[in-house]
């Protein structure tokens, strides 16, 4: 029966209480775009507290450091965290790496690596993108060759968020250069970012964040750090990354921004009236509200399909709309707030505590993990069956 109650009200209350206790005002905000020392330190501390609750591996088997809770509870947890824009670290660890380990990792890897992630012992960074290979992995040139029991990894990864802060790089590399089809012969390794031969170079983004070039020159990686089996990297990424069950909740991070925006509209006047009393401003708020509602209903449909064991088209639609809505949201917010939105920092003149300009610049990062154009292509070809 159609039922849109997520349930678990006590659980939601518990999560909210945790956030109320551990996340003081001013400590929210999206860390990806600002890893200044004091912010990073707080985020580590905060994530450790989440880890102590056992919430990092909430849905994992208990044997691997998890709590075996339902995906709905995980959704609720993450929804509340996103709404609060809580600086939860190690996304690559607990989503991408963990998903891959649970799908294809050896028993030993699951038993050692997953608890290390759950307990915040290891922080992982993403090592997919290379200068010549973005969404199309065919151009990958980083390679690993066997050397005794180890592998020697050589090549360059780029746009690596938290590259200088992480312990391990989840790197996809060519292990069979003779493979005929371009997606064959790829494997995943956990490369120690402090190992000899690794060089991390900063790459600053326009939103004030740091991404990195990771250069690897004959970096020795033990065979135990080869995720699962050799040459199955393509299978792992397609099966676990897109289906790892971590819900899409970009719209929830929009909620806090929306609240800041409406609060501003109830205090700031222009042309002699409060912004909120201007029908045009209200119309823009309505457009944002619809944007969020559409994404929320799609996210909940994806969750419902997972829970009920159905194939879902909702998440691929979600990804298109979420990606495309990011710049639109930033623009609407700017149109509402006006030129003072350009100001950053905490000056009394800066609208929305200087956040708006960051939203705007961050929106140009909406290509991360696939451009909006790629998401459209996926929906058109895989979703609708149009020819590639």
């Amino acid at each position: 029966m159609v039922d849109l109650r997520l349930g678990y009200d006590d659980w939601r209350a518990e999560v909210r209480q945790f956030l109320a206790d551990e996340l003081p005002p001013g400590k929210e905000f999206y860390l990806d775009y600002d890893e200044a020392e004091h912010k990073w330190d707080f985020a580590v501390e905060f994530t450790k507290k989440v880890s102590e609750k056992g919430w990092i591996g909430l849905t994992w088997p208990r044997a691997y450091g998890g709590l075996e809770r339902s995906v709905v509870e995980q959704y609720i947890l993450l929804e509340e965290f996103h709404r609060a824009e809580a600086p939860l670290l190690n996304l690559i660890g607990w989503s991408l790496t963990a998903g891959m380990l649970l799908y294809g990792g050896t028993e030993e890897q699951k038993a050692t690596m997953l608890p290390e992630i759950a307990s915040m012992k290891t922080i992982w960074a993403e090592g997919l993108t290379e200068p010549g290979a973005g969404s199309d992995l065919a151009g990958l040139t980083t390679s690993a060759v066997p050397d005794g029991d180890d592998w020697l990894v050589t090549g360059q990864k780029t746009y690596t968020t938290f590259g200088s802060r992480s312990d391990l790089l989840l790197a996809i590399v060519r292990t069979d250069p003779s493979a005929k089809r371009r997606h064959e012969g790829l494997s995943f390794f956990g490369v120690d970012l402090r190992a000899p031969g690794v060089t991390v170079q900063p790459l600053w983004n326009i939103a004030g964040g740091r991404q990195n070039h990771i250069f690897m020159d004959q970096v020795r990686v033990p065979a135990s750090r080869l995720i699962g089996e050799v040459n199955r990297g393509w299978e792992y990424i397609t099966r676990s990354f897109y289906t790892s069950g971590v819900p899409f909740l970009r719209h929830s991070t929009m909620e806090r921004k929306y609240r800041l925006l409406t609060a501003y509209c109830t205090t700031a006047k222009r042309g002699g009236r409060l912004l909120i009393d201007d029908p045009e401003v209200r119309g823009k708020l309505a457009e944002i509200d619809i944007m969020m509602e559409v994404q929320r209903v799609l996210a909940e449909t994806g969750l419902s399909d997972t829970v009920n064991g159905r194939r879902s088209d909702a998440t691929s639609i979600y990804q298109v709309l979420a990606k495309e809505s990011i710049p639109r949201f930033a623009q609407l917010a700017f149109e509402i707030v006006g030129p003072l939105g350009q100001l950053s920092g905490e000056s009394p003149y800066a609208a929305l505590h200087g956040e708006l300009q960051a939203w705007y610049l961050q929106a140009f990062g909406n290509h991360a993990a696939g451009t909006p154009q790629i998401k459209r292509m996926v929906l058109a070809t895989r979703g609708l069956g149009l020819p590639k």
């Binding site: 029966m1 159609v2 039922d3 849109l4 109650r5 997520l6 349930g7 709905v72 409406t262 609060a263 509209c265 109830t266 909120i276 009393d277 029908p279 209200r282 119309g283 708020l285 309505a286 457009e287 509200d289 619809i290 509602e293 559409v294 209903v297 799609l298 909940e300 449909t301 969750l303 419902s304 399909d305 829970v307 009920n308 159905r310 088209d313 909702a314 639609i317 298109v320 709309l321 154009q373 459209r376 292509m377 929906l379 058109a380 070809t381 979703g383 609708l384 069956g385 149009l386 020819p387 590639k388």
Partner: protein
């Protein structure tokens, strides 16, 4: 437990409806008698009887008055299929809007007399809502009702009434003598009453539209539905529920348009490859697919909210604003893909195009519902 999909009973209803309508309402039946010069379909009386016999007209009416007592989510399953088939009959107008108002505002006697007949398809009660200049806010109606010794005298014009020619009764909102500004009283007016003039109007809409003029039509005191001046208490929720189901219909039609469009994009070649391989066409098809699917999900969610009386008025409005605009987008995207083919009367696409335009504006267009949403958000921000 969380489930955004229909349950087994609802799904069964949906499949029965799809099969029945596919067999009995081919698209060809929607073409007017003088096709291709007349593209206006007429009231599908056989379908009407069948729909009544299947219990679908009464599906949402309380069981004690001959209905099925089903909630809006179940109706969503049915109306998606009615939309897909472009059924040319006032199911929504009669069963959801008029029936809903009678069930909500009627006296016990009115309900007992009218609703079973309505469910059986023997009494066609047509709401007359759109006002002068296309006014959708019923409170702005200029139709007036004067007290007389025996009852009321009604005067005014409703310029855009769907299926008026098939009506037994009209549901007429009017300003009665004692109403405060903006208050509305509701009347049931026999279509055959002296002074009622129904003028059929040509249109692009794909539904029969008429102007209904009331020139001093006298009705008895028992023609009032609900308390005078309190009409909106009953009419507004019925219109809201009606528009939610319109959105379900839009999504149902959208699914079929999507099938037509994607099939064409796969088959038609230009410059040596199927046009579906061009990203421009892929964007149009994905826009169409997303508009359809999101409308369906939002309509289902809005139905659940209204069934549960959950406190999410903004989500319902968002659904109506989105779904109304989706109607426009579905037609637009498909025509861009089909180009010359879809521009021809020979092809079925225009049957959807016409109806979608009507549904887009019926019971309030996207702008109307967006403004109401905006006002809700403004009020909640200020509080």
């Amino acid at each position: 437990m969380l489930d955004t999909d229909f349950d087994a009973d609802q799904e069964a209803l949906r499949l029965v409806a799809r099969d029945f309508l596919a067999a009995t309402v081919p698209l060809g039946s929607l073409r007017g008698p003088d096709y291709p010069h007349d593209v206006q379909p007429t009231f599908a009386s056989e379908t009407w009887r069948a729909v009544a016999d299947l219990g679908w007209l009464g599906l949402g009416i309380p069981v004690e008055y001959g209905g099925g007592g089903a909630g809006l989510t179940t109706l969503c399953a049915l109306y998606g299929e009615l939309g897909r088939a472009l059924v040319s009959a006032p199911c929504l107008e009669v069963a959801v809007v008029a029936g809903g108002v009678i069930a909500s505002a009627g006296t016990e006697q009115q309900k007992t007399e009218l609703l079973p007949e309505l469910c059986a398809g023997r009494l066609v009660v047509i709401p007359t809502l759109v006002g002068e200049n296309g006014e959708i806010d019923v409170r702005e109606t200029v139709t007036s009702a004067e007290r007389t010794d025996e009852g009321w005298r009604l005067t005014g014009t409703k310029p855009l009434v769907a299926y008026a020619g098939s009506a037994d009764l009209f549901l007429v909102p009017a300003h009665a003598g004692g109403d405060a500004a903006g208050d509305v009283s509701m009347f049931l007016v026999p279509a055959a009453a002296p002074g009622v003039v129904v003028t059929s109007l040509p249109s692009m809409s794909g539904v029969p539209l008429s102007a209904v003029e009331l020139s001093g039509v006298t009705v008895g005191a028992d023609a009032v539905l609900g308390m005078p001046g309190r009409g909106m208490d009953h009419l507004a929720p019925a219109m809201l529920r009606g528009k939610v189901l319109r959105c379900a219909e839009i999504a149902g039609a959208g699914e079929r348009v999507l099938d037509i469009t994607v099939a064409y994009a796969k088959q038609r070649e230009q410059f040596g490859k199927p046009i579906g391989q061009y990203q421009a066409v892929q964007y149009l098809c994905t826009d169409l697919a997303m508009a359809t699917r999101v409308t369906q999900l939002l309509a289902r969610q809005a139905s659940w909210i209204l069934d549960e009386q959950a406190p999410h008025e903004n989500r319902v409005r968002a659904a109506l604003a989105y779904g109304s605009d989706a109607a426009r987008q579905i037609a637009h995207c498909s025509h861009e893909v089909l180009a010359g083919l879809g521009f021809m009367v020979e092809h079925d696409l225009h049957l959807f195009t016409r109806r979608l335009k009507h549904w887009e504006m019926d019971l309030g267009d996207a702008g109307h519902h967006s403004r109401l949403l905006a006002d809700l958000l403004g009020a909640s921000a200020a509080s």
